[in-house]
C-alpha cells in the first residue's frame, strides 16, 4: 500500500514537472541566441521573390533589403554575413513557421499590426521600412497631389485592404472615383498600361516595382502622398527578450550609423573618432555590445559587412537599385523623413 502510494506520488510529481516543462517550452522560448550560436547560423524567413526586398538569382544568391537586414544580424553575432541562411516562406505560413521555431527571425515585408502581435504571440521590434498605399499616374497628367484625383478611374485589386483604403480616402476628402477592379494584380497592371484607368493604387514599394514592367516606365510618376500605414518590420517570438534586443539594436545601429555619417567605407576612420556618439556606437567607449550579449565591435561588424541604413536602402530599393524609390518617409528624422533610432548611450 505504502509503495503504491509512494509510486503514485512520484508518478504525479513527474507528470506535473513534465507538463510544466512542456508548457514552459511552449510559452517561453528564451534561448534563440544560444541555439543560433550553437547552430552557427541565423535562420531567416524571407519572401520567395520580391525585387528589392528579397529575391534569389539563378545561383541561389539572395539580395534585397530584407535579406541584408538578416545579414546584419548574422554579422553582429558571427562577424560573417554569410552565416545568414534564408528560408523562403509563403505569406500564409510565415507567422506559424516563426512560432514553430523553423526560423529565428522573419524579415519578410510584414506589416506590423496589433492583432499580429497579440494573436500569434509575436513581437515586431522596430520599423525597418515605412511603406503605405500610394498612386501612380501618367506624367502627362501633370498632377502632384492625390487630392487632385477627383473624378478619376482608379485601377485596384479587388478584395484587398488597398480597395478599402481607396474608398476611405476618397470619401474622407469628398472626391468621386470610378473603381476599375480586377482579381489579379497582373490584370490591374495591364488595364493601367492600356490606358483604361487614370491612376493605379497599391503599396508604394509595389508601385515602383510594377512601374519597371510597364511599356513606358519613364512616363509614369508615383505621387508623394501615402494614404495608409504599412510599417514593415522584422518579427521575432514574444518573450525572448535577449534575442529581440539584438534584432532591434541591429536595426538601430544601422540607422544611428547613417545619422552619424559612418559608412562601410569610412568605418576604420570611425574607429579612430573622438566624438562620443561615434565612440559608443563603434565600441571604443562603453560596454554596449557586451551588455547585449555580443562583442564590443558588434556595430562595427554590421556596418563593415552590410553598411548603414542608407547604404542598404540605396543599394536595394533606392538610387543604386532598379526600383529607385525616393527615401521619403524612410529618410532620417532630421533630413525629411521619420526614421528615428533611440540613442546608444
Amino acid at each position: 500500500m505504502r509503495t503504491f502510494r509512494g509510486g503514485l506520488t512520484i508518478g504525479l510529481a513527474v507528470a506535473v514537472l513534465v507538463a510544466a516543462a512542456a508548457i514552459t517550452y511552449e510559452r517561453y522560448d528564451t534561448r534563440t541566441l544560444k541555439r543560433t550560436q550553437r547552430r552557427g547560423e541565423v535562420l531567416c524567413g524571407v519572401n520567395k521573390g520580391l525585387p528589392g526586398f528579397s529575391i534569389p538569382d539563378d545561383k541561389g544568391n539572395w539580395t534585397g533589403f530584407d535579406v541584408d537586414f538578416c545579414r546584419a544580424v548574422a554579422s553582429a553575432i558571427f562577424d560573417d554575413p554569410s552565416k545568414a541562411k534564408f528560408v523562403p516562406l509563403d505569406a500564409s505560413e510565415r507567422f506559424k513557421e516563426l512560432q514553430n521555431r523553423k526560423v529565428d527571425i522573419l524579415s519578410r515585408n510584414s506589416t506590423w499590426s496589433m492583432s499580429r502581435e497579440t494573436n500569434y504571440d509575436l513581437y515586431f521590434p522596430a520599423v525597418a521600412y515605412y511603406d503605405g498605399q500610394g498612386f501612380m499616374i501618367p506624367r502627362s497628367r501633370n498632377i502632384d497631389s492625390a487630392l487632385d484625383l477627383n473624378g478619376s478611374k482608379v485601377c485596384v485589386q479587388s478584395n484587398t485592404t488597398t480597395q478599402l483604403n481607396l474608398a476611405d480616402y476618397f470619401r474622407a476628402n469628398n472626391m468621386k472615383y470610378t473603381e476599375m477592379k480586377f482579381d489579379k494584380l497582373d490584370d490591374v497592371v495591364k488595364a493601367y498600361d492600356s490606358g483604361q484607368c487614370d491612376t493605379l493604387t497599391s503599396d508604394a514599394s509595389q508601385l515602383y516595382a510594377l512601374r519597371l514592367n510597364l511599356s513606358k516606365p519613364n512616363d509614369q510618376v508615383i505621387l508623394a502622398d501615402i494614404i495608409s500605414k504599412e510599417p514593415l518590420a522584422p518579427v521575432v517570438r514574444l518573450r525572448d527578450d535577449d534575442w529581440m534586443m539584438i534584432v532591434k539594436w541591429t536595426l538601430y545601429a544601422m540607422i544611428n550609423a547613417e545619422e552619424l555619417g559612418i559608412t562601410s567605407k569610412n568605418i576604420d576612420e570611425a574607429l579612430k573618432s573622438k566624438k562620443p556618439e561615434v565612440m559608443r556606437l563603434v565600441g571604443t567607449e562603453g560596454t554596449y555590445g557586451e551588455d547585449l550579449g555580443l562583442t564590443k565591435d558588434w556595430a562595427v561588424r554590421i556596418i563593415r559587412h552590410v553598411g548603414n541604413y542608407g547604404e542598404v536602402y540605396d543599394r536595394n530599393v533606392g538610387s543604386g537599385s532598379q526600383l529607385k524609390i525616393p527615401r521619403g518617409m524612410n529618410q532620417l528624422w532630421n533630413a525629411g523623413g521619420v526614421q528615428y533610432a533611440p540613442p546608444i548611450r
Binding site: D144, A224, E259, L260, G261, I262, S273, K275, K324
Partner: protein, 196 residues
C-alpha cells in the same frame, strides 16, 4: 633631406593658402568647359529629376534646404511635401553649414574667373558674357554676402556629382524653374554630411 622636407612643406603651405583664400575657387565649376552648349535633350537620371517628394520639416513653405551629401535641393511646399531638384555640389572646401538668404538674383550671369582659378586652369577665359555656353548657366541666386551661389550649368551630366568647388548647380531648366519660385530674401539652409 631636411631641406627637401622643408621645401615640400613650403610648397604645400603655399598651395593650401592659395586654395583657402581663393574666392573664385568657390565661384564656379572646376573642370569647366566654357563654351560648351548643353544638349537640350539631355535626360537626367530619375534620382536627379525635379519631383514632388514626401518631406517632413518644421521650416516654412518657401524655404530652400540643400543636402550636399544627398545632392538634393528641396523647396519646402508645406503639408509634408517638397519640390526636390538634383544638384551638383563642391568637391571640397565648402564645409560651411547653417542659414543664408538669397541676396541677389541674376539672369544669364557673366562669368569672371578669378586670378587663382586662372592660375590653376590657364586656359580659362578672363571674362565670359552670360549665355548658353557659360558655366554659370541660365540663372544665379547669390547667397548672403558669401561667394557661393545656386546657379545653372552648361554641363548637365555633372548633376549628382561633387566636382565644382562649393556652388550648387542645377540643370538650366531646373534653375529657371526655381528662380521663378523664390524671391530675394528666401531662407536657404545648407546641410553637410556629419563629421566623424
Amino acid at each position: 633631406m631636411t631641406k627637401l622636407r622643408h621645401l615640400v612643406w613650403m610648397v604645400t603651405a603655399v598651395i593650401g593658402l592659395m586654395l583657402s583664400t581663393s574666392q573664385g575657387f568657390a565661384q564656379s565649376p572646376d573642370a569647366d568647359e566654357p563654351g560648351r552648349v548643353p544638349d537640350a535633350g539631355y535626360q537626367l537620371d530619375p534620382e536627379w529629376q525635379k519631383q514632388v517628394v514626401y518631406y517632413r520639416t518644421t521650416e516654412a513653405p518657401g524655404t530652400i534646404i540643400i543636402s550636399t551629401a544627398e545632392r538634393h535641393l528641396y523647396l519646402v511646399q508645406g503639408n509634408g511635401r517638397a519640390l526636390r531638384y538634383g544638384i551638383g555640389v563642391g568637391r571640397e572646401g565648402f564645409q560651411w553649414q547653417g542659414l543664408l538668404n538669397i541676396s541677389r538674383k541674376a539672369e544669364w550671369p557673366d562669368w569672371v574667373p578669378p586670378p587663382e582659378m586662372i592660375a590653376r586652369q590657364p586656359y580659362l577665359p578672363r571674362f565670359m558674357a552670360g549665355g548658353p555656353g557659360n558655366p554659370l548657366g541660365a540663372r544665379a541666386m547669390y547667397l548672403g554676402t558669401t561667394v557661393y551661389r545656386i546657379h545653372g550649368t552648361n554641363q548637365p551630366d555633372t548633376i549628382g556629382t561633387a566636382i565644382s568647388s562649393g556652388c550648387f548647380r542645377l540643370v538650366n531648366a531646373d534653375v529657371m524653374d526655381l528662380y521663378d519660385r523664390v524671391p530675394v530674401g528666401t531662407k536657404v539652409i545648407v546641410r553637410q554630411k556629419p563629421q566623424l
